[in-house]
Amino acid sequence: MKVKVISRSTEEFTRERSQDLQRVFRNYDPALRPQEKAVEYARAVNAAKLEKIFARPFVGAMDGHADGVSCMAKNPNHLKGIFSASMDGDIRLWDMASRRTVCQYPGHKGAVRGLTVSTDGTILISCGTDCTVRLWSVPIAGAGESEDSSRNVSKPLIVYAWKHAFWAVDHQWNGNVFATAGAQVDIWDHNRSEPLNTFGWGNETSVSVRFNPAEPNLLATSASDRSIVIYDLRMSSPARKLIMKTKTNSIAWNPMEPMNFTAANEDCNCYSYDARKLDEAKCVHQDHVSAVMDIDYSPTGREFVTGSYDRTVRIFQYNGGRSREIYHTKRMQRVFCVKYSCDGTYLISGSDDTNLRLWKAKASEQLGVKQEYLDAVKDRYKHLPEVNRIVRHRHLPKPIYKAANLRRTIIEAERTKEKRRKAHSAPGSISAQSYRKRRIIREVE
């Protein structure tokens, strides 16, 4: 007969010296792990609770401006710095790590409406209501961070004066050209004192402008006649125009899917469109209770941050209809501009109370904790009532809570009315329109 019995030698299963690591052996057989789902569920509840305990998103505030912050710009080559401009013409470069001003750029006589940095990070371009465009030189990363925290004051490289007030500016990616928005959309070169090209469609002012990150000749603008216009620099006329029911305050292109952009609208929603097919929104992001002022995408392209007139900053998933996170403070008033940091871990919001605030993108992020497993197990059970109640819970300020309830009641009432109208009219006479199409009036070629 052949006999074999389990025999293990102790040396193989224990460590030799105390400096060695302990040996770990795995057997993935599910029979060794009874009641796995119950254990995972218990871990999901604990993970949800811990996430709420460790959620401290506010990092700090940067104060120094004397008037509300109107716009911000990030330097793609320097992670730690952010430029901000206020309504009284003051432009500053901040160091986010120490939350201090590194450099100031005085000069504008009125509100600064647009700020942008060239792609190589050497030139800062600002434009304002005093009809000027100013180009400033940016200190090289490293040279600007001096130990004695000197407040450098710089003079502009050059000032271009033009005929009308400017509302926004954006620089082309990997190019030498920047566009300003005002009574018309002008395309400028760094060295020319006059715009290379001018676009206009109708008699409206353009309110914001944004270049496409992948296609250097494509840009999207939004105008005060409630339209979004897409221009191609190689053509002499605009490519496409989309008219909506309310005005769009800001547009952001998705850096990972550059054919999609998201528009922050006055009717408290953000609309994501595919630039090739503008007749229907890809997704409607609802959750704000007042006009959405600014929008910026994360470098991963998976989420974006919005700042709204209702004093809150919200983070949405790129394809999600509801916000993932909301940040608010008693001291933060109307939020005019938001930016996602270049590494995707922080957000910066500039608001009417003259402060820039630094927030964490993941509120309960901790160093050294293996968060992926806890996030995954929480995701798997987040539909169950106990976990859902904890994960969904956010404290809202009372005015926002009440405004949201009111909005919900109004929308429900409209929907019920539509349903009843449809039920009591001849079948087929009233066709239901999806919400994604409802806010669009028409698309014009």
Partner: protein, 501 residues
Amino acid sequence: MRGYGADLESLKDKKLKGQLSVKEQLYGQSAKAAAKTEKWIMPTEGGSLVAEGLEKTWRMKQEDIISEVDILSSRKACDISLRVLGPYTLVYTLNGRNMLMAGRKGELATIDMLTMNLIKNFQVKETVRDVVFLQDGQTFAAAQKKYVYIYNRDGTEIHCLKEHEAPQSLQYLEKHFLLSSINKYGQLHYQDVSTGEMVANYRTGLGGARAMRTNTFNAVIGLGHPGGKVTMWKPTSVKPLVSMLCHHGPVTAMAFHTDGRLMATAGMDRKIKLWDLRKYQVLRSFAGHARTLDFSQRGLLAVGNGSFVDIWRDSGGDQSFMDRYMNHSMVKGYQVGRVRFRPYEDVLGIGHSNGISSVLVPGSGEPNFDSWVANPYETRQQRREKEVRALLDKLQPETIMLDPGRIGTVRPTRATEAEEEDVAEVEKEAAIAAAKASALKHKTKGRNKPSKMLKKKQEGIERVKRSFMELPPERESKKLKKTEEVELPRSLQRFAKKKSS
């Protein structure tokens, strides 16, 4: 792979469909990767006993086996002979590291099986009926004459649980930290040993259970009663989950297979039955008495009776029949009290009237352990870490259910229930209309009175209505329960007590 894949064809939501298909792909890839690495990460091979030629495995004696294996393994087969303090019962920790032997007349001894050291030996001077290890392999609970006592590693009594009166058997649910006991009056207690609160006290109403085992697959406690019934209990319901009539006499022993699908019971009616726990039907029935039963990690069944122990093995692979595998008979005065397989080793421990013996049973233990589940080579630090993690992952008693895979699944929506109700109503009305329209037989010879005809017609209508009333639609409470809903299979409907709605 666990469970079935998602049914993607019937989905209309494209976003969800895309997300689910990506996940399904990921699951497939990870299962393949795990299967590929299996041959590298499993360091130990399982045991086996193969008969050559005309030999039969059940004629092999322990002496032959011991002479063929290596020295370390042969040392695992031993006999500890203690006569004074009564028939001995034994229990192993979940990683097979420590063993606790309890003599009926009051002796308690813990032994470290790896080094064969005696950790502590002490006497409590009263009857000890049963013992279990608690959360780490150091603390244990003993069911003594009047109460349950908890002792620590040094033999110090740390708790006296007075609510458990005259306990006969103990079981410990390690993921839920629940200690449960049954006494001769049939009272079942569940106590949480981490917080100390008594979770449940139930009167089974069926008398004291001589057989008490835990189904490790779903943490349900099975009791074998003197009337031949086997009931299964969970801490959150007053009535048992399942109540089945297994034997024509008292149930003497029972055991659950580790995958929760098989149960072995033995009764005084000289039958040992193997039950399928999915359909609650008998798979196999053998003749013979059994004082004790135990399943090993690999599915071998040990039957202890008188002074010998039979070991059965499922050779077909589908657990539909068991073959005789081995037999061990001891000295003819020794009465086998309890048999327990040692986890992760090919060893069977036998507690008998004269002490403890352990015999080698090749192929009974799981050769490869997982360090995060149970580690026989645990250090002190690892043991403490494990205890903390187990406390963090402690399960609530509400999560115990017959089918543990139901956590996280979706209940049928209100819409389908409303549809069912509508359909039932329509049917009912159709049946009533049919009953009203049915023509009665015209009787002759003066028996055709109009009042009688009317009465008969009304009786017919009422009969139809009553047939619908007997199955009222079940209305569930508005509070969403995350689990619950025990649905007994048809074969068991007659055993389960009907809830009066």
